[in-house]
């Protein structure tokens, strides 16, 4: 299993994924505040979707790495 994902485990390490979680969280806070302030409802929804998706994927990746690697 680990060999199959070997090239991926070289790129996606737990440290890097956690770094992405932090960046996505900060950008979500900044952008959501700005979009709601400007009254852009559609955009603020997309901020949550994009950054939330990133956080979810990164945390999922971390869990997968903890289990398989």
């Amino acid at each position: 299993m680990l060999e199959l994902f070997n090239p991926l485990t070289r790129i996606f390490t737990i440290n890097r994924l956690l770094l992405v979680v932090v960046i996505a969280f900060i950008s979500m806070l900044i952008d959501f505040r700005i979009m709601t302030k400007k009254g852009l409802k559609r955009e603020s929804r997309w901020v949550l979707i994009l950054n939330g998706g990133l956080i979810g994927l990164s945390l999922g990746g971390c869990i997968a790495l903890l289990i398989f690697a």
Partner: protein, 369 residues
């Protein structure tokens, strides 16, 4: 400089095109050309820039048919929604890849002087600074580039002057040894390495006077040719074609020969140049990818796609295992992106003339009046 108008002057556009074309290639172009053509490399520079001039004509012509619209608006109108969006997504992803490529080359170089700093730190630092600027739109980017441009030209000028003390013009001989086939292939490769010429597809509507686009584009291209030609001649005349093939960063080696050891080695000057060049190009391509994504998604606030792209570029940057893999992947990408730049503007122009899309637009405008 125009204040708070979301418009940039012709000079700023010139600097934008010139800076983005000189991403990393300018540092390695003497080596790549001498590897394949030896002392005849300068002919390929002329050939490559000639092809770029033709492509640039189509890009500007297309942009001037839709003066208030970017590629993201007119491509779906010309080719239909699905094909248009597909082309746009390819362009946006390619700009992401281009950003990642430059960041990686920058980080690989910085690792030589900061060996104990993790590569992630170098990558995130430069990407985050670029993201902060890119969030504020085209005006601050143009201003940043306007400030860094004299530094870039000044440092390169200093390196060339330093090298002038040690050149041996006999190293430039013999000439006209390469076959026409080799010259044609290398000219094409030189054209493919000129990433940045396509930025007018997205940025032409931001020009305060779009009519000047031809002048600006050809001015940038001509200046780029002069710069690369000078660097090629100086590095070949200094090191000769045999030695230059062994140097990873031949332009950097120029900084090691100041006469009389007055300043010792000028490596730090070169690093300043490197940071400037890499940062300006990263900034432009990062902004272009985020702008394209936001226009495709029809966001009213283009800045919101900047930060979510950061992790994507970050991981793309980490894909190559080492410098050699990075150069190999970068070669494949140049072919792909060069092919896109060569074909897409011409395709769009032909289709818009056949379908009369630009005339419909003009008629709509007249009706509105």
């Amino acid at each position: 400089m125009l204040k708070d108008a979301d418009r940039i002057t012709s000079l700023e556009m010139f600097i934008l095109i010139f800076s983005s074309m000189n991403a990393v290639e300018v540092m390695i172009v003497p080596r790549t050309l001498s590897e394949s053509l030896g002392t005849d490399g300068w002919i390929a520079l002329f050939g490559g820039h000639l092809i770029a001039a033709v492509v640039m004509f189509f890009i500007v012509k297309l942009g001037l048919l839709f003066p208030n619209e970017t590629l993201a608006e007119y491509a779906p109108k010309i080719l239909g929604r699905y094909l248009g969006i597909l082309l746009l997504m390819v362009a946006a992803l390619s700009w992401c890849l281009l950003t990642a490529r430059i960041v990686r080359q920058f980080a690989d170089f910085m690792e030589l002087i900061l060996p104990q700093t993790p590569i992630e730190v170098i990558i995130i630092t430069i990407l985050y600074v670029a993201a902060r600027v890119a969030r504020h739109g085209i005006e601050p980017i143009a201003r940043v580039l306007e400030i860094l441009f004299p530094l870039f030209v000044g440092i390169l000028g200093l390196l060339i002057i330093v090298a002038a003390f040690q050149i041996d013009l006999s190293n430039l001989l013999p000439i006209f040894q390469a076959s026409p086939k080799e010259l044609a292939l290398e000219s094409l490769k030189t054209f493919l390495g000129l990433e940045g010429q396509e930025i007018l597809l997205m940025l032409l509507p931001f020009m305060a006077v779009p009519k000047n686009a031809y002048k600006v584009a050809y001015g940038a291209l001509a200046s780029n040719l002069v710069l690369r030609l000078t660097l090629f001649v100086v590095t070949i005349a200094t090191f000769g074609t045999d030695l230059i093939k062994e140097l990873v960063w031949p332009v950097e080696e120029l900084s090691r020969g100041f006469p009389g050891g007055m300043f010792g080695r000028l490596d730090s000057v070169f690093i300043a140049l490197w940071v400037t060049v890499a940062f300006t190009s990263i900034l432009v391509f990062y902004y272009l990818s985020s702008l394209t994504f936001s226009r495709v998604m029809k966001f009213r606030e283009p800045s919101m796609t900047v930060l979510p792209l950061l992790p994507l570029i970050f991981f793309l940057t980490l894909v190559p295992a080492n410098v050699a893999a990075s150069e190999e992947l970068s070669g494949y990408f140049s072919w792909f992106w060069g092919g896109y730049t060569l074909t897409v503007p011409i395709l769009l122009l032909v289709v818009t003339y056949i379908r009369g899309t630009h005339l419909q637009k003009n008629q709509e405008r007249e009706r509105e009046r």
